[in-house]
């Protein structure tokens, strides 16, 4: 039984086939404007590899940077209305108040503030104004806005008002795609609303992209179920990915970190992913990326939700040096490295050229950089070492020496030693770590529920059962499920000793019938 992992990046589409721990084949093809075509080409190239067979494929996992790129580049966004259930509080700061103007213009589908929401202890802040919500739904339909972000005060404590609002809105505007903030974010109304609005404004693109993934698979003759990879290193069934594209925002770096763990066999380590323009540094804990616990800006928008804790610095294989001052970056030749770098006959001095001159790698024509003086090479490589070391150290949380796993196309820039790092490992097959990370992604099940009148042990056991059932329904193998997160929060003032419990379990994808069932993984 094998699995295919595909990473659809801005420049390349990578595909790998894994069987257990063995990489049976790996290919790199250019990403195309028409996503379907690019994936088909990658699959065709993969299936042409000698050890790869089209039969016995258990699942296909796709990771994509499409959604986050759409936000960063302000393209392919649909208008989304904001319904905020907050009055009498929050009236002076309208939704999107702190968004960059150019992004707000693309996505703003009108703002509606209505009475309702809750207190921190679960009591109501105000009665829910159902009439105003109905009127807002009618107005959205009249305006031709068919996506909405619903955010209620303290909805991470109780989502009651958001859920009721969704019912009312759908009654007035049956085609409306509704995103509830309680599904996505944490406490911090503006940041949670921002995530919810970003999600709603990606509704069209998510539907289109996921459909083109499905088409690419069908046209390649692969009948295995399709999964989309998420920020946390797990996968979602396609219908969930369609609804919640923001959970795929960081799947690129997450997959590369997970892939690095898998390919090296090391589950606890720092990971350095050196690309063409930037380097990302993250931290693996038990094989999963450590989660960020503060505000993460996406395309200039402040957000607070499940995202890996990453530090990005402007340093990559394509980073440009000023030939006279030797100032480094932050500009990069990006994916034009093969045309523009000196070692490839181009005219731009890049960090790759200096690394070749330093003897770190044998790529391109070394003679084309022989006029760089030894002192220059030493100074620049010293600069690179200092910056990477500092960035790695910044992300470390203990003084204990930890291993550092290096992946990415710019890995030749890796210093030989870094303070506080026990060993530096260049991961085998590191160029396709992303796709490997996608292929090995697991299935999760999460429950976030308010329990009443139960002892703590019992309610946690009940919550775990529910989470396990959801994971199995989403395609997980029940035997492999592990609890990865437990949180319980007593809600004072609510009747009946209410406790909000959150449990998340993760497991491997269950083997489906021989030869690949054309299954919808969620019953």
């Amino acid at each position: 039984m094998s699995r295919i992992g595909i990473d659809v990046g801005g420049t390349n589409t990578d595909a790998v086939m894994l069987d257990g721990a063995a990489v049976l084949g790996a290919v790199k093809t250019p990403t195309t404007e028409d996503v379907t075509g690019g994936i088909q080409a990658a699959l065709q190239a993969l299936l042409a590899e000698p050890d790869v067979s089209a039969t016995g494929i258990e699942a296909v996992m796709i990771g994509t940077t499409h959604f986050v790129n759409a936000v960063v580049q302000r393209r392919d966004l649909n208008r989304a209305a904001a319904l905020r259930i907050c009055l009498p509080s929050g009236a002076s700061l309208r939704p999107m108040v702190d968004w960059p103007e150019d992004l707000a213009v693309c996505a703003d589908g009108g703002a509606y503030l209505v009475e309702g929401g809750h207190e921190y202890d679960g009591r109501p802040l105000a009665l829910l104004d159902e009439k105003a919500i109905a009127a807002a739904g009618q107005r959205m339909r009249a305006d031709g806005v068919d996506a909405v972000a619903v955010t209620s005060v303290f909805s991470p404590i109780t989502a009651e008002h958001e859920e009721r609002a969704a019912e009312i809105l759908r009654g007035e505007h049956p085609d409306l795609r509704v995103t509830l903030s309680s599904r996505l974010g944490r406490i911090g109304l503006l940041e949670r609303e921002n995530v919810t609005l970003l999600n709603a404004s990606l509704a069209d693109l998510a539907a289109r992209t996921v459909s083109s993934f499905e088409r690419a698979l069908a046209e390649s003759g692969i009948a295995a179920p399709l999964y989309i990879t998420q920020n946390d290193g797990t996968v979602a069934a396609v219908d969930i990915a369609r609804r919640e594209p923001v959970f795929s925002f960081a799947s690129g770096p997450t997959n590369s970190m997970r892939g690095a763990a898998f390919l090296s066999g090391i589950d606890d380590a720092m990971v350095l992913d050196i690309g063409g323009t930037t380097s990302d540094i993250g931290c693996l804990v038990a094989g999963f990326p450590r989660e960020a616990n503060n505000v993460v800006e996406i395309g200039g928008v402040r957000t607070l939700f499940h995202m890996p804790d990453l530090l990005s610095i402007s340093l990559g294989g394509g980073t440009i040096l000023d030939p006279s001052t030797l100032a480094v970056g932050p500009r990069s030749v990006g994916h034009h490295l093969m045309e523009e770098a000196l070692v490839f006959g181009g005219e731009t001095l890049t960090l790759t050229d200096v690394a070749v001159a330093a003897g770190r790698a044998d790529i391109g024509d070394r003679n084309l950089v022989c006029n760089l003086s030894a002192a220059t090479v030493r100074d620049v490589m010293g600069w690179v070492e200092r910056h990477l070391s500092e960035a790695v150290d910044r992300m470390k949380t203990s003084a204990v020496g930890e291993p550092l796993l290096v992946v990415g196309g710019g890995a030749i820039l890796t210093p030989e030693t870094i303070a506080g790092i026990s060993e530096i490992l260049l991961v085998p097959n590191h160029g396709v770590a992303n796709a490997v990370g996608a292929a090995m992604a697991q299935v999760s099940g999460e429950v976030d529920h308010v329990f009443r009148d139960m002892e703590r042990d019992e309610l946690l056991r009940r919550a775990e059962e529910m989470a396990r059932a959801r994971a199995v329904a989403a395609g997980a193998d029940a035997e492999t499920l592990k609890v990865v997160d437990v949180e319980d929060l007593p809600l004072a003032y609510l009747p009946g000793n209410a406790v909000r419990a959150r449990v998340r379990v993760v497991g491997d994808i269950a083997n489906v019938a021989e030869g690949g069932d054309d299954g919808d993984p969620t019953p």
């Binding site: 907050c86 009498p88 509080s89 929050g90 009236a91 002076s92 700061l93 108040v97 702190d98 929401g117 207190e119 921190y120 009591r123 802040l125 105000a126 005060v153 303290f154 406490i187 911090g188 109304l189 503006l190 616990n293 503060n294 150290d393 910044r394 992300m395 470390k396 949380t397 203990s398 003084a399």
Partner: protein, 363 residues
Amino acid sequence: VYPRKLTIDDIEALALGAWILGTGGGGAPYHRLLNMRELYRDGHEVTLIDPISLADDALVAVLSNMGAPLVGQERLADPAFATKPVRTMECYLGRTFDAVMSLEIGGGNGVHPLMVAAVTGYPVVDADTMGRAYPEAQMTSVAIAGLQCFPLTLADIRDNEVIITRAESWKWMERISRKACTEVGSIAATCKAPRTGREVKDHGILYTTTKAIDLGRAVMVARDRHDDPVDAIINSADGVRLFDGKVVDVARRATEGFLRGQAAIEGIGADAGSRFTVHFQNEFSVGYRGDAPVVMTPDLICVVDSASGDGIGTDVIRYGQRVSVLALPSPPVFLTPQGLENVGPRAFGFDLEFRSIFPAGPS
């Protein structure tokens, strides 16, 4: 030069400076800054006046937002809400105010009265009663001076208002107003006991709004020039740099309405090989180098991001952050015996004799 029309750039600098002077508490000023940007866009303006120019019988509103910063994260901030207790107080007293001022310059409350000023047109007095942030009513210059603690008005975001007409002491005022605040959702807008111009001149901590603006601006200029923003803070506020390092451990617990805990910082650069621990109770209260207490309240203990110079709150300080620990001099009023009784280390549960890190006393 007073009276001075504040620009929105002044207010951006004020928010930055106030967050540093918050010594980890007071809540981030971000929502209030967003409101000020909106108000300025709509043509509102705020005038800052010299406390010394106040007539002796002028009436000044002392304003703050009270409660849990976490609740503020969901309820946001609103100028109309901030103004409610001011109007209630005016009705109760039967006269209008001449100006408004901050209860505390540290954190979000450093910007709070500017929202009221923009809406009402009242000028803002360049002063506060803490010179920083502290959690309780008796921890102010006016409480230490023994001034009258009542009346106080408190407003909920709904149509609930409370007037506390009398309280026996500042501690009683703290207890009663805290109870009312908790009942309306652990957040309330308040107008503290009004002060006369004479009282502000004699017992306010003067020129702290300008101090916070200057501090914020120094950091902004340093960032633009790629200078060290931490040095800029030290130069602007006569502080000392105590430690540079990386946060390696944070322990927090919520007890009796306070956020208590400690953060351990491992040295880098000149401090490599040593460890610094800052203890907090809402604000940073005591700092230990190794096992020795080297800095304590009422000296201001500021923990800032080493790269940006931004203040770091006790609720958000976390593993891996590169931080610098600084001490800034305390306002003189807190160094008196009564001052130390109200805000010295023992007031925060540390059995330590106060010793200032500034040996010559306040500069």
